[in-house]
Amino acid sequence: MTQTDRITIFFAWAVGIGCIIFLMLPIVITVATSFTSSAVYTLPPPEWSLRWYKSLERRSGLWDAVQLSLNLALISTAISMVLGTMAAIAVARGDFRGKQAIATFTVSPLMMPGLVVGVAMLQFFREIGLRDAYWSLLLAHVVITLPFVMRTLLASMGAFDFSLIDAARTLGMSYPRAILKVLIPNLAPAYLTGGLFAFLASMDNYPISIFLTDARNKTLPIKMLQYLEEQPDPSLAAMSSGLILMAIVVLVVASRTVGLNRMIDT
């Protein structure tokens, strides 16, 4: 190893460690401010306290927003799993032109501006007479979650040995049953990862949802930004810390079952 190599590697490590600190900074700051006793964001806090966690109980409509967001995220991810599995099998096994186009198209909502998709859906739903906020949100959230599911399923099905399905069929299983009993258990890591990121994307979506909500149906991100505009006190940091804790728990479970390295592979 030459001198230049050593300098390059040292430089890469220095930037890498800086990058870790940079990435963790907002998380650490949020958690630290949530335990402040003061009503403004000073760091380090003058005294530690749980008052902002207690104040969450008094936030009107917070629980409704959490429930709506969980409901939308779970149902839309489940629908995307079904639609995504079928489409990914077609791309992996089918013998037709335009397979690459299908893959690009199903993943493309990831790269489209959220607000624009929201505006377009709002105008479209109005034109076809769909006025119910919950159903509009649910349809939109399937569009939000499907690309995440598709991306992981397309990658993992490309590597799946489909002769296992044929073997199961020879043993007398029907095609749907073979998919359910052989393919899905084999691709469990991909389902877990894709489903996890889809779920989180739905929980987090603001730009599309904002156009489709009404007074009674407000998702968690919309409620959070609304609180932030009305009363920007550290209770928002407490709320965020709750979400951080949830993310950590989910990640620990996911990394135990799938492994962190496999989670980012797909």
Binding site: A12, F22, T30, A90, D95, L115, F124, A247, L260
Partner: protein, 276 residues
């Protein structure tokens, strides 16, 4: 093509039909309406949009912020991915956690954290003053620099991961082979490592750029109304001004840019793939 794979192709129909109706059709209608005049097609809404100097400033700011965000993310991500590809054991875990944990957190949480950090009595200013770098608090919140830093932070994992996955798969014996043939380190990097890792760079940059031109939550929390971006103009014209034609025009402009980015990056990725 046999009957069996014909039937398998049909499996894609429900998902595609759903996306076609709920996602593609609304976007196409939006684009169509933006060029629909009283009699026939017209570009008058676009001409109106671009003839307003304010709109041009906002468009230019949106592109500039997105470009700077992508560049900053790339500059941090490339060496990081390089170090990550050499990391083992606990260090690899630390890298992976630092990337995956922020990815699983909402953008509101992160943008909000940056708005705390950038306050004049915030963490960064206090640190700068304690270290004696500045005497007075530096105004950071509501500046474009703050926006670029915050946005690069949020999108960084999407830049690191594609580059990491390409560098990791690089055969480490290639640079060594080049070196044993007498290539200088610089030659090795520019002729071997860099070209082979370009697909990852293109994928990460395209994704980061398209997220950055359309971000809404991050600028509204970090720069507020003072420095509008296209997304903020869209939200404002729909949600506050109730000016739907204006909002639709800006949406169409942003959509055209986004589609262009997608097409250009996949063309570039295709060319890189063909060359190798």
């Amino acid at each position: 093509m046999n009957a069996r794979s014909d039937r398998i192709a049909l499996l894609a129909v429900p998902g595609l039909a759903f996306l076609a109706v709920i996602y593609a059709l609304p976007l196409l209608l939006l684009l169509f309406k933006s060029i629909q005049g009283v009699d026939g097609l017209t570009l008058v809404t676009y001409i109106d949009f671009f003839s307003d100097e304010f709109n041009r400033t906002v468009l230019w700011r949106t592109l500039r912020v997105a470009l700077l965000t992508t560049l900053l993310a790339l500059v941090i991500a490339y060496p990081t991915a390089f170090a990550m590809a050499r990391a083992k054991g606990i260090w690899l875990t630390v890298f992976l956690v630092a990337l995956v944990l922020p990815m699983s957190l909402g953008v509101i949480v992160k943008a909000f954290a940056w708005s705390i950090l950038f306050r004049s009595n915030g963490f960064i200013n206090t640190t700068l003053q304690t270290l004696g770098i500045t005497d007075e608090p530096v105004r950071m919140l509501f500046t474009e620099t703050a926006l670029v830093i915050g946005a690069a932070n949020v999108f960084l994992p999407f830049m690191v991961l594609p580059i990491y996955s390409v560098i990791r798969q690089l055969n480490s014996s290639l640079p060594e082979a080049a070196s044993s043939l007498g290539a200088t380190p610089w030659f090795r990097f520019t002729r071997v490592t860099l070209p082979l890792s370009l697909p990852g760079v293109v994928a990460g940059s395209a994704f980061t750029f398209s997220l950055a031109i359309s971000m809404y939550v991050i600028p509204s929390l970090i720069v507020g109304e003072r420095q509008q971006t296209l997304s903020m103009l869209i939200a404002r014209s729909f949600l506050y001004l109730r000016n739907e034609p204006l909002g639709s025009t800006i949406s169409a402009v942003l959509l055209v840019i986004a589609i262009f980015v997608v097409l250009f990056s996949s063309w570039l990725a295709g060319r890189l793939g063909a060359r190798q």
